[in-house]
Subunit: 133 residues, 2 copies
DNA sequence: TTTAAAATTGTTATAATATAACATTATGTA
DNA sequence: TACATAATGTTATATTATAACAATTTTAAA
């Protein structure tokens, strides 16, 4: 087979799954993804989870932990998922990635009472989005 | 049966499961809990999940979303789980609840670019604990 | 250009996490 | 009492995620 996925360094399955997540206006769950890509030859959970793992690892997508679902990264500044923040609507399914330099700086520099600094954080805000308010 | 669980307003199953989590030095997973309390008559997942749900709802415990595990609240100021922050060691299983008034204030007052404020947040820091460094 | 390592894929089975649905019992309050 | 609400017990099943192993493709070094 031709080397069809060299330029952007995503493999075939990774690209298929990334495209799906990237086009979606909602966070997608692994089995929703699996169902959607079966026509493209991705037929089993490990294929989906492996692609998701790699995409998370490289910062192309993020996992919304409270929803077990995935969104495409909308923030070129989030440095391979070291510093992520999201707003999550409790009414509709909407999730937005927050990119706020001040917030990122504040949390990246945060050190606890013992003076410990952390190399990564994930922050999830919950409330009502503009539509749902 | 006597009203054996009135004073502290936890029900029997809730108290059993809270005590277990409260005594634990590690976050506990639902099925670990289930296994541990079978001798006390709690035999099925729904019994555990219902107690966990109620304990989370009332702020007695918190769910560590990235681990699907539960810890007892160590912070009387966290206002029924509206504002939670944790430090999580990526090497051992250690989780500490962070209680930092400044951090809480900063995040509680945070508003995004559209001026939206959120009614709740959960923050997870990842790194190495003192022991593992 | 061979060739070997590393990454990716395909596949089957199963583990781990969580909820639906319904019957019963206990508790708080009018 | 009598009613509403909360909690419990139980069986089954849905959802999320990984183990294990074989085959293929890609990358990079010899
Ligand atoms: Zn991002
Ligand atoms: Zn909404
Ligand atoms: Zn707390
Ligand atoms: Zn540690």
């Amino acid at each position: 087979m031709d080397k069809m996925y060299k330029e952007n360094n995503l493999s075939k399955n990774q690209q298929i799954i990334f495209d799906l997540i990237d086009k979606s206006s909602e966070p997608l769950k692994a089995y929703t993804i699996l169902f959607s890509v079966q026509k493209k030859g991705i037929k089993a959970p490990p294929q989906v989870y492996r692609a998701l793992d790699k995409l998370v690892e490289t910062g192309k997508i993020h996992k919304i932990e409270s929803k077990n679902a995935f969104v495409a990264c909308r923030n070129s500044n989030c440095e391979i998922s070291k510093a992520t923040a999201f707003s999550i609507c409790e009414s509709c399914e909407m999730v937005d990635e927050i990119s706020d330099a001040k917030l990122t700086k504040y949390l990246t520099n945060f050190s606890d009472k013992k003076g410990t600094k952390y190399k990564r954080f994930n922050l999830e805000f919950f409330g009502l989005c503009k539509k749902c308010k």
